[in-house]
Structure formats: structure tokens, C-alpha cells
């Protein structure tokens, strides 16, 4: 590919500026310090040099942001060009001769560092960044030995909070603009900027508007000095005391790569690691700071059994496992396999999911297993739809975001979508009931009534097929997609738990008819895809095969496979409420918290006879349990997980487990032994190897390959073998502040030489038929507001609730968002408490005006604590309509 222009940042400016590149060869020859190297034309000099072992110092330049050329640290000499050139904004051209170590360059580097240090406090011994500070490192490597500055340094009040999480020390700031550019250009939350002039230049927030970005932690990571610090890590550790391991974040299903760091057996930090196909170095704040819960006081530290009606007693593991096995055996023997059900499992590892699926389906013989709690999409669709990878977004013909606010559910996917639309010009279609953060970047915006996307999607399908549907939005889309190649990527999620999944499935079925369409699932739970892939779904066996087609292959190892398709979460709870399901295994899920219909969940839990809970927190269903088997959690165990695109990535263990806990997969194996089945699985690696053998979609993805593949493996491997990168990452790659690397080893460590075996799946994988009947429309009532209920990022899940830093951010109660004009016609003011009545219940909620919500609809975050969506929703109703009444003076 030949670039005629390189994107650049002309910060401050919102417009797309580029650096022109002369010449026409695709590959150019450049001489850097007498070393002749080849590079693609138009690549930035600083990058070419680094790849070939010459590190040019820099502060403002960041690999994942456009160059801006502010800090002047990366000056080099280029023959034939007047003066020194900034290598971060100089594209290589053929025949370029560059000197990075000449006397003039050395003097300029000395000079810039001397200037940076005149006002920078030398408080390294008490600075959080000391020891991993680019300014410190580069001063040592490139700077002068001492300062000639004898005057008073600049002084500011410090530190000042710029948000609930981030604090700013303006004295340490070297004004590189990384944070401000990240906020404006990457996150799209331009809430920080520079104020003041000259040496009084400072990073500021706007009055009354703190830096409340979901991505604020990234600015702390990319700050080249200790100017930005975050509350959770502040003064917790010295960098040289930290142990680090690369892992995947598990606060949502994107699975961002990160380096988890610990000291004295406590996790103290998670840093983003740059994985091109996944997160490109960024993390959201929930992921970055959602580690505190690991060490929360509320965690269940030892197994417990219920003795008497309300008392839980701590017992030893053998006793607890015996109790669990006995309870399950009794129900199984008395009422048959279908009286047992397993709910949850979407927060564990693939190994946990697999062994639990084997226990449930291969030992207990029940197919009443569901990792989703009626808040996602049918497994049949998720497992069988044609899949896109995250990287497909970059080269898509068009992107359709169907119904889901990605920023609330999958924040880093939101950044990738934003990047595709804003920086890469990929046409984006926003199909939803209300505005999201992507709406302003959309080429076409299609609004529809809650639960009725079909009309809008039909028109969209016609437009994507090249027809001119003669609406302004779709004409714009047709124009934008004309001449573009690549797949159409549909980001498919559940728009609202106040309506069934059927309308969304129907819309997906319509879109399935578009040429070269691929779907990217937008389900939120961390490892929901791994859980579904490995059999924690009714009707499926591990490896994306249904009961029938997989029976023979899986049965070979398992022995038994359920006869008939079982119940999904709603069915399980209904059956429990009806007394048919008598034993419930909760794998880190509490129906009262996670299920959209709280009344049904309450009925079910009251009726069910035995509850075995594999949960680390009270919110995991511990209070309903007869037996509690506390599992290890993220950062305490090895394993692998699967993200939204089907990428299997490894997790790292960095701390020893709290209290007396056990890996969830081992719990399942231990219970199985007590039920007479020895799985003979002793380690995570053995489980991984068994998965590779048994689960058809995981063919070839064994422990060895997972260890070698740098960015994980997308399953099925046979389709994605070209995307594999084997071997260790180059030194310094990843952690975004680029420590000065040693000379990179030119040759790989030999791992590449070994070919990767890519066996085809032993059984044809499940394919979704793409047929879904149109659901009957729920008639709208002119006096009601139709409810839309979807998750918000800082909800009441354990990652937020049990992490003190994040818990502060979660609002204490749900609010009912309605259009300001509806608010007016209701005769209530913004912030008033109102009485909200559905067919299910009446609750009192504060009401809030929200322009993003169209007239006739109301929005409630589905995952906030307190009265809210789950009380109002009837899972059997085709829609949830609300009556809103004002409270009388006395009621207020």
C-alpha cells in the first residue's frame, strides 16, 4: 500500500490533517546512522528507526495517536533538509539519510531535556512514576548531567482532582499533550485541555465539568511523567517492587490485553498492553480499576453449608463438596436429571465452563444449563452466526450497530468503532431506539420504536443492497458505501431487557441476507462467549455443536450426553417456580440481581429445594445457597477466555488465592468424582488439551498453541490460522509508555519454525439458519411510555460494587429517563420522584429529562441497585409499558 499522506494531529483542531509524502515507490531505502534499512513509504521515521534498533527519544509521540510534534525531543538531522527535523512527523522517503546521534542532535536533546527539567520538580523519590518514568529514563540516557537553572521553579497547588479517579500534579506536567489529545482524539471526551500560556501552561478541566470519561485511566498510563495519577494506585507501590504478568481483562467480553501487577501478594495495577487485534493498548476505567474487588472484605473466603434455616457454617472443602454432591445426587435420583439446572458461568474461564458443562451434561445428564440470564441473545444465534473479528471493523464496507450502546457495554469496542468511523471513514449505521455516543459519528441514523426494529432494518438491508430507498439517511449511506469493498459488520447486542430477544433476532435474520455480512456479538459478560462455546447453553455441546451432531464425538470422551434440548434461563426459573426444577447450581450468578424479571426470580428461588452456589461474593447468589463453594477469581488462576470475536486468550495468575478457595473447574471435577466420575484432569493445561480434543470449534487450540500465540487464537483455528502471531512480543512492545528497549533480537526464538497444526473441526459446526419469524407487534398505548432497559457501565455488578474506587462512581439508584417534552406533558420537573406502574409492579423513581430518549419511551439502566427495571419487567410480556404518575404532596 502506498500512502500519499500520513494522518497527523494538528492539535488543537478537529479536522483531518495529513502530512504529504513525496515519491511513488512502495518500499523505500533509508539510511539511519549509516545503517541501510527498508521501510514502507510514508511510515514515520521514528517508527522505522525503532523497528531497526534505533530508539529516538520522545514524549508527545505515542504509537497509537497521530503525531503532533510538540515536545521537540525527537529531533534528528536529515541530509538536505534545513535545520533539525522532528522524526515523529517526518515520513520516510527514498534515499533519506538520517543521523540520530550527531553533535547537533545531541545538543538539541540535551537542550530539550534541560528545558523540561527547569520547571519539573525533582521529587522522583516520592513520585509514583519514579523508576518507570520516561522523563527520568531519557534524562539518564540522553540528557545533561546537571541543570544551570537556579531560579524558583513553577508552583501550582497540587495535586488537584480532575475527576473522581484521576489527580493532576501540574508542577510535574511537561505539557506533551498526550492526555489532552487522547481525550479529544481517541476517547472523544474532550474534557481536558490546556489553559494558560508560556511556562504557566497547565492542563485544565472546564468549570463544573470534571474529566468523567470512561477512559480516563489511559491518560494516567500514557503520561510520560507522574503528573497524572489515579486514586487506586497512588502511593501503593514502587515500580521496582511490582511483579507483572500479561493477562486479559475480564470486566467485559472484549478481553483487552493488560499487564496485571502485584506487590506483597495484592493486585495493585492493571496496565493496557497493546494488542493490535483487540485493544490497541487502551483499557476502560472499569477494567483498569476493577481489580480491587479481588481483595474485598466481602469476599467469601471458605466453603459453607447451611445448617438450620438461616445459619451458614464454614466447613472444610471435603465436607462442602460432599454436601453439594449429595444434594445433587438426591435430586437426580428422586426426580431425574431434568430437575437439576445450572445457571451462570459467564464470568469464569473456558476451562471452568468446559468442566462444568461436562459435569452438568455428561454426569448429571441435564441440559437445563444457561450461562446467560435472559439478558443476551439465544445461543443458537450467537454460536451460529457468521462471525466478524474486531479488526474487520477497520476494513468494513459498512458497520451496523444494532440496538446496543457499545460504550456502556463494551467500552473498548466503542473506541474501535469510533476510530473506524472517525479516522478510517467507515460508514456507520446506528439502529436503535435512542441516541448513543456513536450517533454523532453515524452516517445514517435509524430510529425505531422499542421492540420493533424490523421496518428500519428492512430499509437498511435494501440500502446496503444498493437500492436508493429515498430517505435522506439511507441515501447518504448508499453514497458512502458505493465503491467500498469489505464485509458489512453488524454489531449485534440486546437493545433492551424490557422486551424479548425475538425482535432483535428477527432483525438479525433480515440482516443475515446482506452480502458478505458478518456479526460481532455485543454480549457483555466477561466470558459469556467462552461459556456458550464450551457448552453452558441449552442444546449445545462444547465446541459450537448441537446435541445431535455432537453426540457421537463428545460422547466418546464423556460417555453420556443429554437426550433432549433443555431449558434456557427463563425456562429454568419458570420450571423452578413450578416445582419442576428442584436443584439449582449458581455459577457466579444471582437471579435476583442478574435476571430481568425479579418477581419470577424470587418465586423460583423460594420454590427450589437445593441451591449450590459457586460464588465468591454475596451478590453471586450466596444468600440463597445451601452449599457455597467459593472459587478463585481473576488474577488468582490461570486459564483462558474467549472474547466477542471468538479469540481465546490466556489469563495470568499473579497472586495466590484469597482464603480457602478453589478453581471453579476443579470444584466441578471434585463434585464429579463424588458422583462417580473421574475426569482425570489435574491442571489447566490438561483441561485445555481435552477441550482441543473434544470441542470441535477448538480443534488444534491446545495448551501449547495458547502459550505460543502472542495475541491469542481465534476459533475455529482453521479459518483464522493466518492471523496467528507466534513467539514473544518484541522488547518494549505493549506497555504504552515504551521503556527504552534493548537491541531487539533480529531472529525469533525459533518458535515460528514449528508449523502449527490446524486440524479441521471433527464435526461440522453449528450454523444459524438465519430464519426467524417476525414477532407480533405489541400495540402501543398512547398514555404509556414504553420501557427500554439496558446496562450501564458502572452498574451493580461485583466488579463495581466491591471495588471502592469504582463504587463511588456508580450512581446509588436508577433514574427514569424520558424526553423533556414528555416530562412537560406529564407535568413533572427534572429530578422529581414519580410513581411508575407496569403490569408487574409499582415503584417510585426519580425522573430525569434526557434528549437522547425519544418521545413515548422511557429508559432505565437495567443493572443498577435498588428499585428499577427488574421490578417492572414481566419476562413473558412482549413489551413493558409504564404509567407515570406524580406523587401527591404528602407522598413526597
Amino acid at each position: 500500500m502506498t500512502a500519499n499522506a500520513v494522518p497527523m494531529s494538528q492539535w488543537p483542531s478537529d479536522y483531518a490533517y495529513t502530512i504529504p509524502v513525496a515519491g511513488d515507490q512502495d518500499v523505500v531505502t533509508v539510511t539511519i546512522d549509516d545503517k541501510v534499512v527498508q521501510a514502507p513509504r510514508g511510515e514515520l521515521l521514528i517508527k522505522v528507526a525503532q523497528r531497526h534498533g534505533t530508539y529516538i527519544p520522545r514524549f508527545c509521540y505515542h504509537e497509537r495517536m497521530k503525531p503532533v510534534g510538540m515536545c521537540r525531543m525527537c529531533l534528528v538531522e536529515v541530509d538536505g533538509m534545513r535545520g533539525l527535523q522532528i522524526s515523529c512527523a517526518t515520513p520516510v522517503t527514498d534515499g533519506m539519510v538520517v543521523r540520530t546521534e550527531s553533535a547537533a542532535v545531541k545538543q538539541a536533546q540535551d537542550g530539550v531535556l534541560e528545558f523540561l527539567l527547569i520547571n519539573h520538580p525533582l521529587d522522583c523519590p516520592v513520585c509514583d512514576r519514579g523508576g518507570e518514568c520516561p522523563l527520568q529514563d531519557q534524562t539518564l540516557a540522553f540528557g545533561p548531567g546537571e541543570s544551570r537553572y537556579v531560579e524558583e521553579k513553577r508552583h501550582f497547588e497540587k495535586p488537584i482532582p480532575i475527576s473522581d479517579l484521576v489527580l493532576l500534579d501540574r508542577e510535574r506536567c511537561i505539557q506533551c499533550g498526550r492526555c489532552t489529545r487522547f481525550a479529544a482524539e481517541v476517547a472523544g471526551d474532550a474534557l481536558i485541555d490546556f489553559g494558560g500560556r508560556g511556562e504557566e501552561t497547565e492542563v485544565i478541566t472546564y468549570p463544573g465539568q470534571p474529566f468523567t470519561s470512561y477512559f480516563s485511566g489511559n491518560v494516567v498510563q500514557i503520561c510520560p511523567v507522574g503528573a497524572l495519577t489515579a486514586r487506586p494506585y497512588r502511593f501503593k507501590a514502587r515500580p521496582w517492587d511490582l511483579e507483572a504478568a500479561e493477562t486479559s481483562c475480564q470486566s467485559c467480553a472484549v478481553g483487552c490485553r493488560g499487564a496485571v501487577e502485584s506487590t506483597t501478594n495484592r493486585v495493585v495495577r492493571l496496565l493496557g498492553v497493546d494488542s493490535e487485534p483487540v485493544n490497541q493498548g487502551w483499557l476502560c476505567d472499569k477494567g483498569r480499576y476493577g481489580y480491587e474487588w479481588i481483595h474485598a472484605d466481602t469476599r467469601v473466603a471458605a466453603p459453607m453449608v447451611r445448617t438450620g434455616t438461616s445459619r451458614m457454617t464454614e466447613v472444610s472443602w471435603p465436607e462442602a463438596l460432599d454436601a453439594a454432591a449429595a444434594a445433587l445426587r438426591r435430586v437426580h435420583d428422586e426426580h431425574g436429571p431434568s430437575a437439576i439446572a445450572v445457571l451462570g458461568g459467564a464470568d469464569g474461564t473456558n476451562e471452568d465452563a468446559y468442566v462444568w458443562a461436562r459435569l452438568a451434561k455428561g454426569v448429571l445428564g441435564t441440559d437445563n444449563v444457561d450461562a446467560q440470564l435472559a439478558d443476551g441473545l439465544p445461543a443458537e444465534v450467537v454460536l451460529g452466526m457468521p462471525r466478524a473479528t474486531i479488526a474487520d471493523l477497520d476494513r468494513a464496507k459498512a458497520i451496523v450497530v444494532l440496538g446496543v450502546d457499545t460504550r456502556e457495554v463494551l467500552p473498548i469496542l466503542h473506541l474501535r468503532l469510533r476510530q473506524a468511523a472517525v479516522d478510517r471513514g467507515v460508514p456507520l449505521v446506528d439502529v436503535a431506539t435512542r441516541d448513543t455516543q456513536l450517533t454523532r459519528h453515524a452516517t445514517a441514523v435509524l430510529r425505531h420504536d422499542p421492540g420493533a426494529p424490523a421496518d428500519a432494518v428492512e430499509k437498511l438491508v435494501a440500502a446496503l443492497g444498493g437500492e436508493k430507498p429515498r430517505t435522506k439517511a439511507l441515501d447518504a449511506l448508499a453514497d458512502a458505501t458505493a465503491g467500498r469493498s469489505g464485509p458489512v459488520v453488524v454489531v449485534l447486542g440486546r437493545p433492551s431487557v424490557a422486551e424479548p430477544a425475538a425482535p432483535t433476532v428477527h432483525a438479525a435474520a433480515l440482516l443475515a441476507g446482506v452480502a458478505d455480512v458478518r456479526f460481532l456479538s455485543a454480549l457483555g459478560r466477561a466470558n459469556v462467549h467462552g461459556a456458550l462455546d464450551l457448552g453452558l447453553a441449552p442444546g449445545f455441546l462444547p465446541g459450537r455443536v448441537d446435541l445431535e451432531s455432537g453426540r457421537a464425538h463428545v460422547g466418546e470422551v464423556w460417555g453420556v450426553v443429554p437426550d433432549a434440548v433443555g431449558l434456557d434461563a427463563t425456562g429454568i426459573l419458570r420450571a423452578a417456580a413450578a416445582g419442576q426444577v428442584r436443584a439449582l447450581v449458581l455459577l457466579g450468578a444471582d437471579p435476583l440481581v442478574d435476571f430481568p424479571d425479579r418477581a419470577l426470580a424470587r418465586d423460583a428461588l423460594e420454590k427450589v429445594e437445593r441451591v449450590v452456589c459457586v460464588g465468591a461474593f454475596p451478590s453471586d447468589g450466596v444468600e440463597h445457597a445451601d452449599v457455597v463453594l467459593p472459587p478463585t477469581v481473576w488474577a488468582e488462576h490461570h486459564g483462558s477466555t474467549t472474547n466477542i470475536e471468538g479469540r481465546v486468550q490466556r489469563l495470568a495468575r499473579i497472586v495466590t488465592a484469597e482464603g480457602s478457595t478453589m478453581e471453579a473447574w476443579r470444584i466441578a471435577a471434585e463434585v464429579a468424582v463424588r458422583l462417580g466420575h473421574d475426569f482425570d484432569l489435574e491442571s489447566v493445561e490438561e483441561v485445555q488439551d481435552e477441550i482441543a480434543r473434544v470441542a470441535p470449534a477448538f480443534a488444534g487450540v491446545d495448551a501449547l498453541l495458547l502459550r505460543r500465540a502472542r495475541d491469542g487464537v481465534v476459533v475455529p483455528l482453521a479459518d483464522h490460522v493466518d492471523e496467528l502471531t507466534l513467539g514473544a512480543a518484541p522488547p518494549g512492545a505493549g506497555v504504552s509508555w515504551e521503556p527504552i528497549p534493548p537491541q531487539p533480537a533480529e531472529a525469533d526464538n525459533g518458535a515460528v519454525a514449528t508449523p502449527v497444526a490446524t486440524p479441521a473441526p471433527a464435526v461440522a459446526l453449528h450454523r444459524w439458519s438465519g430464519v426467524a419469524p417476525a414477532p407480533a407487534a405489541a400495540p402501543a398505548d398512547a398514555y404509556s411510555l414504553r420501557l427500554v432497559a439496558a446496562a450501564t457501565l458502572y452498574g451493580a455488578d461485583r466488579v463495581v460494587v466491591a471495588s471502592p474506587s469504582l463504587a463511588r462512581l456508580a450512581e446509588d439508584a436508577a433514574r427514569l429517563f424520558v424526553n423533556p417534552r414528555d416530562l412537560e406533558s406529564l407535568g413533572v420537573a427534572d429530578g422529581d420522584r414519580v410513581r411508575v406502574t407496569s403490569s408487574r409492579a409499582t415503584v417510585e423513581l426519580p425522573i430525569a429529562a434526557d434528549r437522547a430518549t425519544p418521545r413515548g419511551t422511557a429508559f432505565v439502566a437495567s443493572n443498577l441497585a435498588g428499585a428499577g427495571a427488574a421490578d417492572l419487567i414481566d419476562i413473558d410480556a412482549p413489551a413493558t409499558d409504564l404509567r407515570v404518575e406524580t406523587l401527591t404532596e404528602r407522598e413526597r
Binding site: Y17, G69, A104, I118
Partner: protein
């Protein structure tokens, strides 16, 4: 022969000091917009050709050929914009101030002709925020021009559309840099941008943009009237035509003087401006605004010629001549200039942001008897990190020319007063040491 002004752009405003800014007067007595009419009947290339022939160089400071600047616009890339730099902020420069307040129609006419020549349909006049009266008169002039069909749709039935937007700055020196001005026009903080891309390729809103100074544009109607050749015959060498010089400081008659280039500094300072006030002798003078290196009395017979100024290692810059008599302490002048640049550095590039403040602090102690013997050499040494080589024309490690400006007066100090200052610093140090010894 006594020195005389050659009035072209200031002719009309000098002739009618009471109402030259009004539409009626400009139409009636100056045939305002008649040259726009003429230009609209010309081929675009012909206008560019005339301006190129005239040798007119930018009057903002850099002195780049105006016609040449226009011809850099990439072909067939639209929309294009014209930005008029009316953010006259260089200390001691007040020529644009006068042109804006007293003859706004001349500017609008020049801008309209230029916009036509470069095929731009929007012209943004970025006026310095402090020019309240100027902004008021300019806006009135724009409104009058719209009302009379010289701006807007289908100007004079030529089919050419032009909208002129008067935008007031918020008070910032660096908005006078052309890319800083564009950032500010976009609604952002005024910070210069890296070049390339140059504004001609990607300027305002990333579209091809020409940025011209007020005086440059005021000259355009006259070139259209009398032809590029006529203009090129005025002046000297490659410095053609006339320029308005703002003479200030310790002279008898400070003010704006429009003279033919090539006149000597002596004729301008001693002839037109009446020489040094109070019969004193000249100490030194700054020939081109605060950013220009200084000259000494022995240079008074040098001509006002941009290329000759470069040979003298200075520049005519914005055309502001600051004259200081023999009683002025050059260190104090230097410190005051340093204070200005330290205050106005936008903060984008490290060397300027940090260096300008450091220079100011060192000069402060030097000027106030607290200097150390090697302070001047310290300045010259770390100043090399802003201006490598310290040799005019200045190289720079910064994006814009504010970086070198912070050092130009320091270089002048060393060049003209170096030995005296070093002696003085030594004397100050010795005196302080004696005081310390005595008090010990």
C-alpha cells in the same frame, strides 16, 4: 531634498481624516470597489500574474511573495478560503491598526479581489480583539459592502459569490502566526501547527487557504488600478513598492509613514520622524518589530530593503521601527521584550515554552544588578537550543518563529553591547561580594 512620503495605501485616509472609513466617502472620493469591478472582468490568472509581476511581498513580517503564495494552492481542490490577518500584535506595530480604522473598504476590496483570484467564496478577517473601534468600523464597512452589492451572492452580476466574516480574536500574540490564526478561527486555542502541510495545501478546516496581511491586501486594488509593472518600478531591488512604517520610541514625531522602499533609515527616522527627542543622540534602534535583531546608529544610512536587512542579520519584519536614545539601558529593553515573549509563548513547543521564561528570569537579574559574570554567555548557550547557531536568518527548534524571537534581542545585546554587559555583570558581582564581605 527633504525626505517625503510616497502615499499609496494611505493616500485616501490621509486626505479625509474625518470620514475616510465611511462607505459614502470611500465611494465618492476614492472610487472604492471600482477596482473590484475591474478585477471581476479580468481572468483569474491575469490577476495573479499582475500581482506576481508587481513583486509585492507580504507585509506581515515574513516578506513572502504574495502572488507566489497564491499560486501554491493545489489545483482543483475546493473549497478554498482566504484568511485576512488583521491580528496586528507585534509590539510597536500600528500600521494595520490605522488601515483598519481609517480605510476598511480598501481592505475589503483587496480581499474581494484576492478571493476572486484564488476562487475562494469565504474570506475570514481575523481582527485583533483589542481593536474595538477597528472591528466596529470594519463590520460596518462589510455590512455596507453587502448592502451595496460588493459582497454576497453574484457580486456585480459577475456570478462570483463571496462572504466576508469578521472574527474578533480573544487577545493573543500567537494568533498572528498564520497557523495559530487558523487554529483560533476554527474555535480552538491559538497554537501554531506543524508544517507541512502548509496552509496553502491544508489550512483552515483542512482546506487550501491563503493567509494575507491587511497591508498586503490594501495594496492589491492599487496594483489592479495601475498594473504590476508600475508597482514593481517603485522601491528598490526585490523590495518593490511602498511600505507603511510605524516609527515609535524617542523620536520627535512618532507615527505611521508610508515611504518607497529603498529610502534610508536616516531619512525616515531623522527626516520624517524628526530625529531623536530632546536633541539627544541615538542609542540603537529595532528595525522590524520586537522580533527583529537590533541595529546601531552606524546603520542609519542603510536602505529600507528587506534583502539588505537580511545581510545585516536583521529584518524589516512588520515594519515597526523602535528608536531608543543613548540614555536607555539596553538590558532593560531586552528584559522587557523577554517578558513579553515569555507571556505570549503559546506553550506548545518545549524550547520556547520553558526557554522564554528562563530567558526572562536571567535578564531580570542581569538588568537589576543581580547578574553573574557569565549570565550573558549562559543565555547564549542555552539559547542555542532554541536557535541553533544563533545566526540570522535564524534556524529554530520550534514550530513557529516565536522561538527565535525570544532570542533575537539577546543576540543583539551580545553583538552590540557584549563587552560592556560582561564588564557590568562582573562589576555587579564584585559589588555584591564586597557587600557580603562587609556585612559578614
Amino acid at each position: 531634498m527633504p525626505a517625503e512620503e510616497t502615499r499609496i495605501v494611505t493616500e485616501f485616509l490621509r486626505s479625509r481624516p474625518d470620514d475616510s472609513w465611511t462607505f459614502e466617502a470611500a465611494r465618492k472620493h476614492n472610487k472604492a470597489y471600482s477596482m473590484l469591478e475591474k478585477a471581476l472582468a479580468m481572468e483569474r490568472a491575469q490577476i495573479v500574474e499582475e500581482v506576481t509581476t508587481s513583486g509585492l511581498r507580504g507585509r506581515g513580517g515574513a516578506g513572502f511573495g504574495a502572488g507566489q503564495k497564491w499560486s501554491f494552492l493545489p489545483k482543483d481542490v475546493f473549497p478554498r478560503y482566504l484568511a485576512v490577518n488583521a491580528d496586528e500584535g507585534e509590539p510597536a506595530t500600528f500600521k494595520d491598526h490605522m488601515l483598519i480604522e481609517c480605510d476598511p473598504h480598501q481592505i475589503i476590496e483587496g480581499a474581494a479581489i484576492t478571493a476572486y483570484a484564488i476562487e475562494a467564496h469565504y474570506a475570514f478577517i481575523y481582527i485583533r480583539g483589542e481593536f474595538a473601534l477597528g472591528a466596529e468600523r470594519l463590520q460596518q464597512a462589510v455590512d455596507d459592502a453587502y448592502a451595496n452589492g460588493y459582497l454576497g451572492k453574484n457580486i456585480l452580476k459577475s456570478g462570483f459569490d463571496l462572504d466576508v466574516i469578521v472574527h474578533r480574536g480573544a487577545g493573543c500574540y500567537i494568533a498572528g502566526d498564520e497557523t495559530g490564526l487558523l487554529s483560533s478561527l476554527e474555535g480552538e486555542r491559538a497554537m501554531p501547527r506543524i508544517k507541512p502541510p502548509f496552509p496553502a495545501a491544508q489550512g483552515l478546516y483542512a482546506a487550501p487557504t491563503v493567509v494575507n496581511n491587511v497591508e498586503t491586501l490594501s495594496t492589491i486594488p492599487h496594483i489592479i488600478r495601475k498594473g504590476g509593472k508600475w508597482y514593481s518600478e517603485l522601491g528598490v531591488n526585490k523590495s518593490t513598492g511602498t511600505r507603511v512604517f510605524s516609527v515609535s520610541g524617542m523620536v520627535e514625531r512618532p507615527g505611521n509613514y508610508e515611504v518607497e522602499l529603498g529610502m534610508s533609515f536616516r531619512d525616515l527616522i531623522e527626516g520624517l520622524a524628526g530625529g531623536i527627542r530632546g536633541g539627544k543622540k541615538m542609542g540603537f534602534f529595532i528595525p522590524g518589530g520586537a522580533s527583529a535583531p537590533w541595529l546601531m546608529p552606524e546603520h542609519l544610512d542603510e536602505p529600507l530593503d528587506m534583502d539588505r536587512a537580511s545581510e545585516l542579520k536583521t529584518m524589516l519584519g512588520s515594519g515597526a521601527i523602535m528608536v531608543f536614545d543613548e540614555t536607555v539601558d539596553p538590558l532593560l529593553v531586552s528584559w522587557r521584550l523577554a517578558k513579553f515573549f515569555a507571556h505570549e509563548s503559546c506553550g506548545k513547543c518545549t524550547p520556547c515554552r520553558e526557554g522564554s521564561g528562563w530567558i526572562e528570569k536571567v535578564l531580570y537579574r542581569m538588568a537589576n544588578g543581580l547578574g553573574r559574570p557569565d549570565d550573558l554567555d549562559l543565555l547564549l548557550d542555552f539559547g542555542q537550543n532554541i536557535v541553533p547557531g544563533l545566526n540570522a536568518p535564524f534556524a529554530q527548534t520550534t514550530i513557529c518563529a516565536l522561538g527565535p524571537s525570544t532570542m533575537s534581542h539577546v543576540v543583539s545585546l551580545d553583538r552590540w553591547f557584549g563587552d560592556a554587559i560582561r564588564e557590568r555583570l562582573q562589576r555587579d558581582t564584585d559589588r555584591r561580594t564586597r557587600l557580603e564581605v562587609r556585612s559578614a
